[in-house]
């Protein structure tokens, strides 16, 4: 009897003990930094200017500075452009790749490998590979474009109009294969009997995709959209290798700007406020996405 109660006592605390390690790390590296950024965003503190080294409370001063900062406007526009330009195209390509390799054809595994290998590549290596690929003059990218009749500027990473596009091309090339895997997983888990029924009804290939495959893969698409969106905020490694955000901020996105403010200009207050803005953007998006998917579930 004694033993029983001792055991049930342990059982009562056990779940907490098991969750504790994960919880502690999330607390220390997600919850705490979020709160601390929020707190610090109300103070002026710049480590490289002696009189501003001690934090002073300035209320919403940092936010006011951000919203009236022309650099921030530029950076925000770039970020939006980057997301609009990379997320839908990479997802669409991921779906196309999945459809192409989800067939019983000889050597289809090699094609799958070709599409997926970019996922294994570190973004910084991808940046070097593409820096080489973009080389003006003999770089294959320009050579191919010229062969197709292009006669614009060749220095992609150094041109104010093309630098962001260059970064976006690398991101699409890098990510499409990753999204393909999720679609492939979704496709292979679809019931084949449905397809047979549709095939008998004489539906065309396009109709099958539009009315059957895509609706069935709704959850996959929502999941991929969520990770693609979050990734488009956090993957900025290629910017370091390709353009360093330039020329004159033409390819600077939010997280890169935050990094510059915090680690190059040592502006703690400003970068904390930027962190808060970034967090809010991420939360608004993921929660909206979540809501949309919940609503869709009710409709079904």
């Amino acid at each position: 009897m004694e033993k029983e109660t001792a055991r049930s006592k342990i059982d009562r605390y056990l779940p907490y003990l098991l969750v504790l390690p994960t919880f502690a790390f999330v607390l220390l590296f997600t919850v705490w930094p979020t709160l601390s950024a929020f707190y610090r965003s109300f103070f002026r503190q710049r480590l490289n200017i002696a009189k501003f080294r001690i934090p002073t409370f300035i209320g919403l001063g940092n936010y006011a500075n951000i919203f009236s900062d022309p650099h921030f406007h530029r950076v925000f526009a770039n970020t939006l452009l980057y997301i609009i330009g990379t997320v839908p195209i990479s997802i669409l390509l991921g779906f196309l790749f999945a459809m192409l390799v989800n067939r019983k054809v000889r050597n289809v595994g090699l094609a799958r490998l070709a599409f997926f290998h970019t996922t294994i590549l570190p973004m910084v290596s991808a940046a070097t590979v593409w820096m080489f690929f973009f080389t003006p003059g003999y770089g294959l990218f320009n050579t191919a474009l010229v062969a197709l009749g292009y006669d614009g500027p060749q220095n992609w990473t150094g041109s104010p109009n093309l630098a962001l596009l260059a970064v976006m091309i690398v991101a699409i090339w890098k990510n499409a294969g990753y999204y393909m895997i999720f679609y492939l997983a979704g496709l292979q888990n679809l019931p084949t009997s449905l397809y047979e029924a549709v095939g008998l009804d004489g539906a065309s290939w396009w109709q099958t995709i539009w009315y059957l495959t895509l609706p069935l893969l709704r959850r996959t698409t929502l999941f991929i959209t969520t990770i693609a969106f979050i990734d488009s905020f956090r993957t900025i490694d290629d910017i370091f290798g390709l353009t360093s955000g330039g020329p004159s901020e033409a390819s600077t996105v939010l997280l890169y700007y935050l990094w510059q403010k915090r680690f190059e200009q040592l502006d703690i207050g400003f970068s904390s406020a930027l962190t808060v803005i970034l967090i809010l953007l991420l939360l608004v998006f993921t929660i909206t996405n979540f809501r949309v998917s919940e609503k869709g579930e009710e409709d079904v």
């Binding site: 969750v19 999330v26 599409f115 910084v124 003999y138 090339w173 490694d237 990094w259």
Partner: protein, 278 residues
């Protein structure tokens, strides 16, 4: 008859599309590989962008000797193994608790985990840098890995797999007097290995490739991983635009990961397909 031909022509067109796109996707890395094998005295130029007269591994040896890549390698390998080791334990026990037990505050704790999936660690690099400095971990391999020791993503993924385990099996185990870790090891884990492998492989790839956070928290060859090491290498003054060296170094950094992936390719993709990622 004509319908049959149309289907055949359609299939052929799709095969060509697949082939074309696959080649297009492979070209950048393939060209990089070729460039890295060209002798330094036979540089790339107009009209001679593919093969020269000979191919050589000399660029690889030179790149290797110009920066402490060996040390970077050890750092990256210890980093990914450390993170993987800790994650496998934290993720497994947390997923088990969230699946097997009912307890007060379960929902609230779950919400906290959700936060980590919504706010990626990269967004928090500024405040996390302060934490790392305060903990006295700056410029250590531990500093790169510690923010990832708890993984909400892994916990969710594995919980999804655990939920598929038949309840009868769990009840039978409980009646037989299995302790919690016996239940976990003998009943929950065996059918969940594909998920755990998928998570493990993505963890290794993700952390092998991470750049920004290590750039911020490391400052010496003794803790610097391959990614930041490579970027430092590309910025070395004496390298300039020597593409043969740059491309060789780039491939040095990814070579082993590519080989591991080639070996486990099928398994990797299969485990994704069978895991809860859908």
């Amino acid at each position: 008859m004509s319908n049959k031909w149309r289907i055949r022509a359609g299939k052929l067109a799709v095969n060509f599309l697949t082939l074309g796109l696959a080649l297009l996707w492979l070209t950048p890395v393939f060209w990089t590989l070729i460039a890295s094998l060209r002798p330094a005295d036979d540089p790339l130029g107009r009209g001679n962008v593919w093969f020269g007269h000979t191919l050589t591994l000399a660029n690889y040896w030179r790149a290797w000797s110009m920066a402490p890549f060996g040390e970077y390698y050890l750092n990256t390998i210890s980093l990914v193994l450390m993170i993987l080791g800790v994650q496998l334990i934290t993720v497994t026990v947390a997923a088990f608790a969230f699946t097997h037990y009912r307890f007060k505050g379960k929902k609230e704790l779950f919400f906290f985990l959700l936060l980590q999936m919504m706010i990626p660690t990269s967004a928090l690099l500024a405040p996390n840098f302060n934490t790392i400095s305060k903990l006295g971990l700056f410029d250590t391999i531990l500093a790169i890995g510690i923010p990832y020791f708890g993984s909400a993503f892994g916990t969710f993924l594995l919980r999804q797999a655990f939920l598929e385990v038949p309840r009868d099996l769990v009840d039978a185990g409980t009646i037989d007097g299995c302790s919690w870790w016996q239940l976990l090891w003998h009943i929950y884990l065996p059918p969940s290995w594909p998920t755990l492998i998928a998570f493990g492989l993505s963890s290794v790839i993700w952390h092998w490739n991470e750049f920004l956070w290590p750039l911020i928290v490391t400052n010496s060859p003794s803790s610097r991983p391959l990614t930041t090491g490579l970027v430092r290498f590309t910025q070395l003054g004496e390298i300039g635009a020597q593409w043969s060296l740059l491309t060789a170094a780039t491939l040095l950094v990814v070579g082993p990961l590519f080989i591991i992936f080639l070996i486990f390719q099928r398994r990797f993709i299969q485990s994704f397909v069978h895991s809860g990622l859908k």
